[in-house]
């Protein structure tokens, strides 16, 4: 109880609250600009949070994350250019409403659905993460090895268009994580005599390179033209507000989207895009007016946006309970924990309860801030979303360099960022998922440690990996999930080629 009160005090300290609000505002603006995203926003923020205390740093980043996901729907509704892939489900109905002069209504529906979905999943996070951590404390190295492989398999299957490419990216990320001190001998390995690599490849440099620089290079290549966002004038007073009838229509899709999004968020790798599309699909099934879907349906936006946002809180359940990131945003948050000297996982509840409870309180406050900021300043966000990207992207590129340099004041790290920026850019061209690579890189030390400890327990006998019932359950789940994805993709390809013929 003391830790909870301390956390509330901490979050409401004026300095911390300012960081939270700044994170939400920055996230909404960056998420709203087509080509930028919540992921880039939090990746760019990490180095600048080094000097903050852990709670303030996490508050700022979770605020940016939540704001960024909602921001994606602004450009989706008003510009037909989703700022995030998760906002793609909102495009059709949002645009249709905007054309009828109901753009502001669509944005408000999206905002309220986002906040409710997010709050629901945060509550589930608060209830369940500590329970999961209690279970995880019983895990030995064998179970953790199997769990890590399971998480990588699911992430690898869900990302990109090819299961095998996803797994290759994961193994490449795991291999990169080997650079640095050998855990068994304490001697540098794979460092090629370079002193900067003795501590391993900088996580921040790889993160900013793969996620931010690569994405900026891709946007620069596409020469994206600036899109003007504006709210078409309403024809009637009810066109720009949520009426009682709208609220009645929204209730069921939001409830369904919130539950589905939360379930999807708990499973590593599935992510907010699936949450949004499943939320949309379910909303259509239970809609009072299904005939309006695709033509400007309030129910469609409510379902998609609640499903999309409900993923974000639930994503933190495996992160805090097991130390396994559910998706790329959670992986970046792991980076934020690590640079603050904290290791996410079951022990964090005993070692740093103030940080965990601070994060919980901060998540709920961030939702409230997002709701108030969204309702009050939606027109400002819309105006900022139309900024000329040709001028903005090069500036963000320079900020990426500065962020990397500021972290350890090393030009070597800037070189690493550029290297991985180019690698990420080529990975996009080759359709190799960057997310899986990054999650592999982050989970590398955890996997190696548990793999080695398992073998030490069995004096080098590999059959120890099949000696635990729970471990075997994870292996079977990994095989089943990979098999399921393989079967589904093959089926889709057959259908596609049948359709062509």
């Amino acid at each position: 109880m003391d830790a909870v009160l301390l956390a509330i005090n901490h979050v409401f300290a004026p300095g911390n609250l300012i960081f939270l609000v700044a994170g939400v505002f920055g996230g909404v603006v960056l998420g709203a600009i087509p080509g930028l995203s919540a992921t880039m926003a939090i990746a760019l923020l990490i180095p600048f949070t080094l000097t903050l205390d852990p709670v303030a740093s996490l508050l700022m980043m979770t605020g940016a994350y939540k704001g960024g996901i909602f921001g994606g729907s602004i450009s989706a509704i008003l510009m037909r250019a989703p700022g995030t892939s998760a906002a793609a489900a909102t495009v059709e109905d949002g645009q249709a409403l905007a054309k009828e002069g109901k753009g502001l209504k669509a944005l408000k529906v999206s905002l309220i659905a986002s906040v409710i979905g997010d709050t629901f999943s945060d509550i589930i996070l608060i209830i369940s993460a500590v329970q999961l951590a209690r279970v995880a404390l019983q895990f030995g190295p064998v179970e953790y090895t199997a769990l890590t492989v399971f998480a990588l398999t699911v992430v690898g299957s869900a990302a990109g268009t090819s299961l095998i490419k996803g797994l290759i990216a994961a193994v490449a990320g795991l291999s990169l994580a080997m650079v640095g001190l050998d855990p068994s001998t304490g001697i540098p390995r794979l460092a090629f005599g370079e002193i900067h690599l003795y501590g391993g490849v900088s996580l921040i440099a790889v993160l900013i390179g793969i996620m931010t620089v690569a994405e900026l290079l891709r946007q620069i290549e596409q020469r994206r033209e600036a899109s003007r966002a504006h709210i078409p004038p309403p024809r009637h007073r009810d066109d720009s507000r949520i009426t009682r009838e709208d609220a009645r229509l929204m209730a069921r899709p939001i409830a369904a989207g919130s539950i589905l999004g939360t379930i999807i968020g708990v499973v590593p790798g599935l992510g907010p895009t699936l949450g949004a599309f499943l939320g949309y699909d379910t909303a259509w099934r239970i809609a009072r007016k299904p005939e309006k879907f695709g033509k400007g349906s309030v129910e469609a936006i409510a379902g998609a946006e609640s499903g999309n946002n409900a993923v974000s809180g639930a994503n933190l359940i495996p992160l805090l309970g097991l130390g396994i990131p559910g998706d790329i945003e959670a992986a970046i948050l792991i980076g934020a924990f690590l640079i603050q000297g904290l290791t996410p996982g079951p022990l964090i509840f005993q070692e740093s309860p103030d940080v965990v409870y601070g994060l919980y309180v901060g998540l709920l406050v961030a939702n409230a801030v997002l709701l108030v900021a969204g309702l009050l300043a939606i027109r400002v966000f819309v105006r900022l979303a139309g900024v000329r990207t040709g001028l903005l992207f090069p500036v963000v590129f320079v900020l990426a360099i500065v962020g990397t340099y500021a972290f350890q004041q090393s030009l070597f790290d800037v070189g690493i960022t550029f290297f991985f920026g180019v690698v990420g850019y080529l990975m996009v061209k080759a359709d190799i998922p960057r997310t899986t690579f990054l999650i592999g890189f982050i989970l590398g030390p955890l996997l190696e440690d548990n793999f080695r400890r398992s073998l030490e327990l069995s004096s080098g006998q590999y059959d120890i990996f099949l000696s635990s019932t729970l471990g075997n359950a994870f292996w079977i789940a990994a095989i089943l999930s990979a098999g399921w994805v393989f079967y589904q993709r093959r089926k889709m390809r057959r259908q596609a080629s049948g359709g062509k013929q």
Partner: protein
Amino acid sequence: MKLSRRAFESCIALISAAMPCILLLFVFDDQIPTSGLEEIGPRVYPDTLAYAWLALSLLYLADQWTRNVGEPVEIGGSAVFRSLAIIGVVLVGFLVLNVAGYLLGAVFYILCFTWMMNERGWAALVLSVVTPVVVYVALEAAFQVRLPTILD
């Protein structure tokens, strides 16, 4: 020039397969030290990963040759030139950063990238000069981090 999807994906699989081969044949022997005291050899984990990487790459190659799907890939022309130009700007900019410091490096990047994104007016020029200076001053004031300049 058009390349079939199978050929393109096979190239990716071969490049991917080459990497663990290089690690196993040329890198691990030199770069993974052993103290001779450890119970489990220090190469057990790296070797396991490298073999898994190789197996997956070969599996991907085999998968490409058992079916032929997907649109052909356009290789060459302005798209490749533009990609190479972008990578070139990144590399030259890094050289400028190292030799002439942050301010000139940042100006170079902003000028090149705004130009590549068709922003070629006064706004781009002013932005390329003002942004690096503002960031330099703000970083020093807020975080006490001094970016390297040509004077260092």
